[in-house]
């Protein structure tokens, strides 16, 4: 618990910045929708007829002329990318910052095991991701209420649950990197978050690359698919959860065994 409090304090600023940036962007877009509604009708028609491009962003399934469509195809991308980047960056830094900042000797000579350090730092990662999600979702709800629109609750909850699992999966993969590397791999972490997104776009556009859906967590958290009532992708979510469990265990094993550099 002491370590959780400590990590919470150290990561609070980053959490605040990312949460406010992503949360305000998403809720701002919801608030702006009313004023954009007229032009969106025309644009929605145009986007829906753009073939592969429409498919890539889910606009073949939903029209951006409606708030639900706009939320599922546009706002969700801001939230998914922002959330994935935050989770990736936080996960990649939590363990390796101790070796890079030479604080490893201070932390690892406290009377706690490496498993304690590994687990409590992972709990911090989960907590930070959850708070990020709760605040962003809260801001979205406030924006919906402010413009007097009704939330389609079942889809909204399903989408945000899947987005949470996706962020945890990406954060966990980067946490494994943090357990293995002696230096903070922020660039690599952000690269992973973006690469998975590109993989999602590619497998939506090109049928030959459909197999990529097994690798990218964006695929099962695709809001357009959820809001349009498409096939359930829960199976892939469970695959994502399995990947999360495997990388967390693998990271723990590596972290437990490896030498710590001063």
């Amino acid at each position: 618990m002491t370590l959780l409090k400590q990590e919470w304090k150290m990561n609070f600023k980053s959490l605040l910045i990312w949460t406010l940036c992503v949360g305000i962007c998403c809720s701002g877009c919801i608030l702006m929708f009313e004023s954009l509604e007229d032009s969106m009708a025309e644009m929605g028609q145009m986007f829906a007829e753009m073939g592969s491009f429409s498919a890539a962003f889910g606009m073949d399934k939903m029209s951006i002329a409606t708030l639900t469509g706009f939320y599922a195809t546009e706002i969700s991308i801001i939230f998914l990318l922002g959330g994935a980047m935050f989770a990736a960056m936080t996960g990649a830094v939590l363990l390796s910052k101790e070796e890079e900042g030479h604080t490893m000797e201070f932390l690892h000579t406290m009377p706690v095991s490496r498993s304690y350090i590994y687990l409590w730092k992972y709990v911090t990662l989960l907590l930070l991701i959850m708070v990020f999600n709760v605040v962003c979702i809260g801001l979205d709800v406030v924006a919906y209420v402010a413009i007097g629109e009704e939330i389609t609750m079942a889809e909204f909850v399903e989408y945000h649950l899947l987005a949470l699992v996706m962020q945890i999966e990406i954060g966990s993969i980067c946490y494994l990197i943090s357990a293995v590397c002696r230096h903070k791999q922020i660039g690599l972490a952000l690269g992973i978050a973006v690469l998975f997104y590109v993989m999602d776009i590619m497998c939506n556009i090109m049928p030959d690359l459909e197999f990529l859906k097994y690798f990218t967590p964006y695929y099962y958290a695709n809001a357009a698919q959820i809001y349009s009532g498409g096939d359930s992708r829960m199976g892939l979510m469970f695959l994502g959860l399995a990947v999360t469990v495997v990388v967390v265990i693998l990271g723990g094993v590596v972290y437990h065994k490896r030498d710590m550099s001063a």
Binding site: L3, M10, F106, M110, P111, S113, D259
Partner: protein
């Protein structure tokens, strides 16, 4: 007397590079033990192995416990001060001290205040505002506030001004009188001679000698100054005095001065 540290045949390599090679020595309870060696000799590798930060071959027992399997139990009774003394830069000194105490699950506030007053630590400052010397002081407080049974100090006085070095050794001696065993690596031989009872010398990963500081200082080595034909000549002699007398008589000097070497000069022999 019981051994508080027992290191038996410990070897640590970093890929092809040597860390320590089959080292063995023991530290008695209540001792102030010096660990001497030049840079890169393997002092920090040995210390980090003792503290469970490195995987190694061989056996290390600290306070009668296995350093590999009972690391957490050992660290409850150990205070460690690393040579670099790095902390989280954005934290305040008081938060760092409090964090260390919380991790030990002990209320160390009284002892922390006493140590901070003795070492003149400004607890309101942020770590990033501190010099190396002041970070060292924070490190001393973190290592000593929970009143450990064993203090492991890696080059503790580097960066401290002479006045603070004096205060630090007073604290160390106080703790030692109360029963704390001290294990310190150092380059400063004057402080080793003044405060330590036993010492081990390590060079290129191997232990060269383990003995009392007094015995290590005692040697056949002599510094010899010879004057002949208005010229002065210096040399060292290591061996029986009779051999030196033969050598000197063959030289037929006008005058001669034979001195015992200083501790520094003795250790330089091991270092070279």
């Amino acid at each position: 007397m019981a051994h508080i540290i027992e290191i038996n045949n410990v070897t640590k390599t970093y890929g092809k590079h040597r860390g320590v090679d089959d080292i063995s020595f023991a530290v008695e309870e209540g001792d102030i033990f010096a660990f001497l060696g030049p840079n890169g000799a393997g002092k920090s590798t040995a210390i980090r192995s003792m503290l469970g930060m490195l995987q190694y071959e061989g056996n290390i027992r600290i306070l009668g416990m296995d350093a590999r399997t009972q690391k957490t139990e050992i660290l409850k009774e150990v205070g460690y001060m690393p040579s670099e003394s790095m902390f989280y830069p954005t934290m305040k000194v008081k938060d760092v001290i409090c964090f260390a105490a919380d991790m030990h699950k002990k209320d160390c506030s009284e002892e922390a205040v006493r140590l901070c007053e003795t070492l003149q630590v400004d607890t309101g400052k942020k770590i990033q505002e501190l010099s190396l010397g002041n970070r060292k002081k924070v490190s001393i407080v973190c290592a000593m506030q929970h009143q450990p049974k064993l203090l492991i100090l890696d080059e503790p006085t580097s960066g401290l001004d002479p006045l603070m070095q004096d205060s630090f050794f007073r604290l160390l001696q106080e703790a030692n009188k109360k029963g704390t065993t001290c294990f310190l690596s150092s380059h400063v031989l004057s402080e080793v001679k003044k405060y330590c009872r036993n010492a081990a010398i390590i060079k290129e990963g191997k232990i060269l000698k383990v003995d009392t500081v007094e015995n290590l200082s005692r040697t056949n080595l002599r510094m010899v100054k010879v004057w002949k034909d208005g010229r002065e000549e210096h040399f060292t002699h290591d061996g029986p005095i009779s051999a030196l007398i033969h050598k000197l008589s063959a030289m037929e000097p006008e005058d001669v001065l034979i001195e015992e070497p200083s501790l520094e000069e003795i250790f330089m022999q091991y270092y070279d």
